[in-house]
Amino acid sequence: MKLGCTPLFRPVRLFALAAALSLAAVHADEYSDISQLIRAGKLAEAQARVDRQLAAKPRDPQMRFMKGVIQRDTGRLADAIITFTRLTEDHPELPEPYNNLAVIHASLGQNEKARAALEMAIRTNPSYATAHENLSDVYARLASQAYNKALQINGNHSATQPKLVLIRELFNPAATGPHAAPTAPTMQAAVTPPAARVTAPPAKPPVPVAPVPVAAKPVVTATAQPAASRATPAAAPKAAAAPQAAPIDGQAKEVEAAVRTWAKAWADKNMAAYLSAYGQEFAPPGQLSRSAWEQERRLRITGKTRISVSLLNLNVTIHGNRAVAKFQQDYKADSLAVLSRKTLELVKTGDRWMIVKETSGA
């Protein structure tokens, strides 16, 4: 499970946020700065800045969301619950606060509450993949609890361990930075009318919006955060596509093949092939180390009985040795079925295209 960090990009939400933000717009840089601080673990500093911003703009949803994340990361769960709950009240259209509430409830063993919150998140945004995954885990935990009672296994029987590993992931403060990025586009949305935004790419070139993983590890802005990048695809490729187009038909084929190989490895639960599709500079989401991320993927993928991944409307754009593949991902695993948008950014390394960034959005 991950803390949710979807970007706010659906038009409706964009609009809502734009409306909310236009009253008291916080500069985009501020979000990303704070997000970076959080991810760097400089929570006190991050909080100071959040507090400063909120003093001026107390209703700013992004800031409040970050405040909740910081509260959670610093163990002030009751405060975090209040923060996220108020966000759900003021912005019932946003799934993220519900999702994070669920994560906190689950961390307190309140799986029923977690379930309720996740169901709200999904009601808010039916294709919100993180909430689906989290909900699936919560159901698994609830099922384990019921089975334990059925079989009269006391407490945390060792048998429940595998489940618990999954659940620990849930507490992983993966989400921290999330909202740094999403804000960027949103902010612009605040400036330009939302309607226009959806069709027209941002005035700025893709780089700032979607900090493509030019740099290796410390990339930052939003690289790691699915949230961040989810916004990206909408904006970036359009700008990018035009200039490149011509020379690289063959390359596009290679990229497409790489993406399909990756999807097949996933569906086949071929972990070696799956993980090897990710390049060295791939930055796992959140603060996960590469090995922790691999472990999480292993648990998630091998824990499923059956997986199918089909890609629809695959669209590849190439910039030199970099490529962006955008598609609709129709993912089915056991009882879970999520149709979501996915963007993979790939870098050609030797003769292989390796994934360096993976983002998904509803």
Binding site: A140, Y147, A150, L151, Q152, I153
Partner: protein, 412 residues
């Protein structure tokens, strides 16, 4: 969604093909009854009926509703392990395919295979009893004649893990309720102390133990029965302390085969029985498999016996002791006395009633047939001109076409 869910659907659905789920349908209750509501709807069966409703909804693919109901059921009865198992399946189906009933993850199931098997067994037995309902208007073949003093009667069918509670009305026996029960770990046909088996035969409830005197293990109460009865003792069977009792706090119900020989019911079910039945006059028939017959056919069956009983009464009234003794077996005994030792007391009884005819008041007789064909007879023996007489019990056995008495004694 989930094809894996099929198995569960299937199990639930097949279970319900013919089960109109009411354990209480037998009730065309005369509303002279002062407490019709409580009497017609015993508190418990609620829990089982709710479980079955969850099966039904699941079978119909209405898993959302099923899950909500399961959640409520386990909330009300957190110790109802079977309900927890079903709830677990319904929850798990949201995270992975559920391939069979009680699809506990391998890791959890490892140390608990037996418990899981028992829960599945319990589920099957509950469904079996609901699927194989007694035909309307029939009674267990053992209940040939009950007196108005037998206000209730109980029959246990081990093959269905079920206890049937009857009310004896002017119109005959009326099925009031039936409950899931557990019997001995080693099954039925108790023969010896410590064999962990439940006895088979015709018994009576002999007392109602104060729950305060019992440990939690017995739940909300206990109704001891008179095992070993006269037939058991004649056959050299040993053991004692066979009770109908409840479940410990940790368990709503126990596995079909779980006890040391007692018949165990869920506490709400036992409570209802305790509130309802009378000590001493409530028969408890425990059968490997009940045979349900229409009351009139039971009456027809009992004609030869009735004739024998009438002949015995006439012989006793006539005072012809030699003729009377022809009704007793050679191995007759009465509370330890052999026939020879007992004849003097028979003679003095006959002397006392001489000249008057004897009436058998409040006559009841229950038939028990296994390797032998026997009759457990209870009546008040009242000579004409007397207002009262002793309550007697006799055990008869069929020898060829003749019925003979192998026990007789005053029980009250």
């Amino acid at each position: 969604m989930k094809n894996g869910f099929f198995a569960l659907l299937l199990i639930a659905a097949t279970g319900l093909l013919m089960a109109p789920v009411s354990a209480n349908t037998g009730n065309n209750g005369q509303n002279a009854d002062p407490l019709p509501a409580t009497r017609l709807l015993p508190a418990d069966s609620a829990a089982e009926a709710r479980l079955i409703e969850i099966y039904r909804l699941t079978g119909a693919g209405r898993t959302r509703e099923a899950m909500v109901k399961a959640e409520h059921l386990v909330h009300d009865h957190p110790n109802f392990q079977l309900a927890q198992l079903v709830y677990g399946d319904l929850l798990a189906a949201h995270a992975r395919p559920v391939r069979n009933f009680g699809d506990v993850p391998e890791s959890l199931a490892a140390g608990t295979k037996d418990t899981l098997a028992e829960l599945r067994h319990e589920s099957q037995m509950r469904l079996k009893a609901l699927r194989e309902r007694p035909p309307a208007g029939t009674i267990p073949s053992q209940f040939l004649a009950l007196s108005p003093r037998n206000k209730h009667a109980i029959a246990v069918d081990a093959s269905r893990s079920r206890l049937y509670l009857f009310e004896n009305t002017a119109k005959g026996l009326n099925l009031v309720a039936d409950y899931y029960i557990s019997v001995g770990k080693s099954g039925i046909e108790k023969a010896a102390e410590g064999d962990l088996r439940t006895p088979l035969g015709v018994y009576f409830i002999i007392s109602n133990l104060d729950p305060k005197s019992l440990s939690d293990f017995y739940g909300t109460g206990a109704l001891p029965i008179n095992y070993p009865n006269v037939l058991d003792s004649k056959r050299g069977k040993t053991g004692r302390g066979i009770w109908l009792h409840g479940t410990p706090p940790s368990q709503f119900s126990r596995a079909p085969q779980a006890t040391d020989g007692c018949v165990v019911l869920a506490n709400p079910d036992l409570d209802y029985i305790i509130r309802t039945v009378e000590v001493r006059t409530t028969p408890v028939v425990i059968s490997p498999r009940l045979e349900w017959v229409p009351p009139h056919s039971a009456q027809a069956e009992s004609k030869p016996f009735e004739a024998a009983l009438t002949a015995w009464r006439d012989a006793k009234s006539s005072g012809d002791i030699d003729h009377l003794l022809r009704f007793y077996t050679n191995d007759f005994h009465s509370f330890g006395k052999t026939l020879t030792e007992w004849v003097p007391s028979l003679r003095s009884e006959v002397d006392r009633v001489r000249g008057r005819s004897i009436q058998l008041k409040d006559l009841s007789y229950l038939r028990w047939t296994d390797a032998a064909d026997t009759m457990v007879v209870t009546f008040g023996e009242v000579a004409d001109g007397s207002l009262t007489g002793p309550t007697k019990r006799q055990y008869w056995i069929r020898q060829g076409s003749e019925w003979k008495i192998f026990f007789e004694g005053i029980i009250g």
